[in-house]
């Protein structure tokens, strides 16, 4: 079981320069501690314009700082938005390779397509096209890293032959992931040999069903890259305290604040009629609430099953349950809207590392550099690299 930390860099109102500075620097301190404590991954999202919910619009810059201040923990784009109006694929490949070099081969690259109108509209993106452009990106990026002459003729972009530089340190390239919010995206990941990076907390049953189907499909995948990444990570929350009641009293408001901020985003489906976005919202979209579902405005999304809020014993039980259904990693959101004071966040991490982590690994394992999760042999690229034309 791998343990990661996951950043949206949510920032409460009223906004100020100092408050954003504090959010970023608190996060960096958490990363340094995570590196010391034996956490495996730091993930940072890419979001734009999402006031309060996420002020993390330049994750590659944040992750470069993380890489410079840590020794062993892996740094993950969770994830790059794969639409050309936001990120040209060549720039994605270049930035990722540079970060992989600077981090001494510790990069993980998640891919995504964005789900809010706030973001897509801000960059004049046609929501109908994002699945198509994402697909093209994940097929093109490995070729840019593996080939000295890369050319592409597609819908998202076209270019004559160039050598995209630099090449990443990891050979053939960093592990690739897909962020999974909408049901069915895990199958897109499996078919392409990409890791499944859950970013909405699904309940046990839903996650088990998705994981089982993912593993069934990836066994027969047609890999888009030089390696297959067959890992399934989920997103969760973490607040650990010796006293379960204290953990609940601190952790539940944090989870609720995150979910409320998430639900206030302006979803693409709400704005723009399209087949490409079928879900209204993502946080908790597949969560299994303890209370019967009803479209009742008084019902907050609350604390669903499997959430990492509690005392160490509770968290061990919870994580073992996730492990039993095939999840290979859990990435924890440590705070939301800075509701939990920084010292309490750090203490929660220390307690987790002291009491929970050893139930899943030896102490020596937590001190070693984290290896990439790619376990299968590299593949030769089919199709000679001319793109999908």
């Amino acid at each position: 079981m791998k343990f990661g930390i996951f950043f949206e860099l949510s920032t409460p109102r009223p906004f100020s320069r100092e408050r954003e500075w504090a959010v970023y620097h608190n996060a960096l301190e958490q990363c340094r501690l995570a590196d010391e404590l034996g956490f495996d991954h730091v993930w940072a999202v890419e979001h734009h314009f999402l006031e309060e919910y996420s002020h993390c619009s330049a994750p590659e810059v944040f992750l470069t700082a993380v890489a410079a201040q840590t020794q062993r923990i892996r740094v993950g784009h969770g994830a790059v938005v794969c639409v050309p109006e936001m990120n040209h694929p060549v720039r994605v490949a270049e930035r990722a390779a540079a970060l992989d070099i600077l981090s001494n081969g510790r990069l993980e690259l998640g891919t995504a397509r964005s789900s809010t109108w706030t973001e897509l509209g801000g960059f004049s993106v046609n929501p109908d096209d994002t699945k198509i452009t994402w697909d093209e990106f994940v097929r093109a990026l490995p070729r840019m890293w593996m080939q000295e002459e890369f050319e592409w003729h597609g819908k998202a972009f076209s270019m004559p032959s160039r050598n995209v530089l630099p090449k990443p340190l990891q050979d053939p390239h960093p592990p690739l992931w897909v962020t999974v919010t909408s049901p069915g995206t895990e199958l897109d990941a499996a078919d392409r040999g990409l890791g499944c990076l859950g970013v909405s907390a699904a309940g046990y049953d839903e996650q088990e069903r998705r994981t089982r189907e993912y593993h069934r499909r990836i066994a027969n995948c047609d890999p888009v890259g030089g390696v297959v990444n067959d890992q399934v990570h989920t997103m969760n929350f973490l607040y650990c305290h010796e006293d379960y009641r204290v953990a609940r009293d601190v952790g539940v408001p944090m989870v609720t604040a995150f979910n409320v901020a998430n639900s206030h985003l302006y979803w693409t489906r709400e704005a723009y009629p399209t087949r490409a976005y079928q879900a209204l919202g993502n946080a908790g979209a597949a969560m299994k609430p303890r209370k019967a579902a009803a479209d009742d405005p008084s019902v907050a999304k609350g604390l669903p099953e499997g959430v990492g809020v509690g005392d160490p014993e509770h968290l061990v039980r919870t994580i073992k349950r996730w492990e039993s259904i095939g999840v290979t990693g859990i990435n924890f959101l440590l705070n939301a809207m800075e509701m939990v004071p920084q010292e309490q966040v750090l203490e929660s991490m220390r307690l987790f590392a002291r009491e929970v982590m050893p139930q899943f690994r030896g102490a020596e394992q937590s001190a070693l550099p984290v290896t990439a999760p790619t376990v299968l042999p590299r593949f030769a690229l089919a199709n000679g690299g001319q793109g999908p034309c």
Binding site: Y266, E270, G281, S298
Partner: protein, 248 residues
């Protein structure tokens, strides 16, 4: 977290009186439902919503024009202005005003569902080439929009969030959660242009729709569900929601 700051007393002046809650489904047959979504600027983001609701980022306005061939009040047309919002964590639209083409339907929609409606003229043309809609109140043009280039979309691709209508309900001033189900025979997405919009005529001079997001047209059956929830207007929905199911 942003919340609405509109003056409740001012909002209450245009709230219709509801004698009883709708307790049975109400079916409207052969309906053409046009929806135009536009972004607004941040200036009025909180000011146009009551304190129980949260704005979206960016703030948006959805304008709906209904062409109903058959209803309990006979055929009618209705145009509605809704500010997109959140009640608790639920996606909703707060109605600022409605215009209805017939007096019986206007009275019915006010009394049964709390639409803040008044009568007016609604011209609505929809064909293979697109949609034209014009709403006039007295001598003034409240709305004119034009949509072209219809593209077929799936029956479920257009999203209609629940509507919140402020009304003097049996329990007092409440936001009524009005939900309807659309079963379209066909649906289209269109490219739209807003040619005229008189914000004051739509109940809120601060409304400033300036950027078209998308437009859709669905044709089919629409069923209003019995009212289930009412929200206190000055209290967040997490605590200010009352169940009214079965109180019709």
């Amino acid at each position: 977290m942003l919340t609405g700051t509109a003056d409740v007393e001012r909002l209450a002046r245009s709230a219709p009186r509801l004698e009883r809650y709708l307790a049975e489904p109400m079916v409207l047959e052969d309906v053409a439902l046009f929806q135009l979504v536009l972004e607004m600027r941040n200036g009025a983001r909180e000011a146009v919503l009551p304190p129980s609701l949260h704005p979206t980022v960016p703030p948006t306005l959805s304008l709906q024009v209904w062409d109903v061939a058959d209803s309990p009040w006979g055929p009618f047309r209705m145009a509605v202005s809704r500010v997109s919002c959140r009640a608790g964590v639920r996606a909703r639209g707060f109605t600022t005003a409605a215009v209805v083409s017939s007096a019986p339907a206007c009275d019915g929609l006010r009394g049964a569902l709390g639409y803040p409606a008044r009568t007016g003229e609604i011209a609505f043309v929809h064909g293979y080439s697109g949609v034209e809609a014009t709403v006039r109140i007295g001598d003034g043009c409240a709305l004119r929009c034009h949509a072209i280039d219809p593209e077929p979309i799936g029956a479920d691709d257009a999203q209609y969030t629940g509507t919140l209508n402020l009304a003097q309900a049996p329990a007092g001033l409440r936001l009524l959660q009005v939900e309807f189900d659309v079963v379209p025979d066909r649906a289209e997405r269109l490219r739209a242009r807003l040619e005229a919009f008189d914000a004051a005529a739509w109940g809120e001079p601060l409304l400033d729709p300036y950027f078209v997001v998308a437009a859709s047209l669905a044709r089919g059956r629409v069923t209003f569900a019995p009212l289930r929830f009412a929200l206190r207007v000055d209290e967040l929905a997490f605590t200010g929601t009352e169940s009214i199911a079965g109180q019709g």
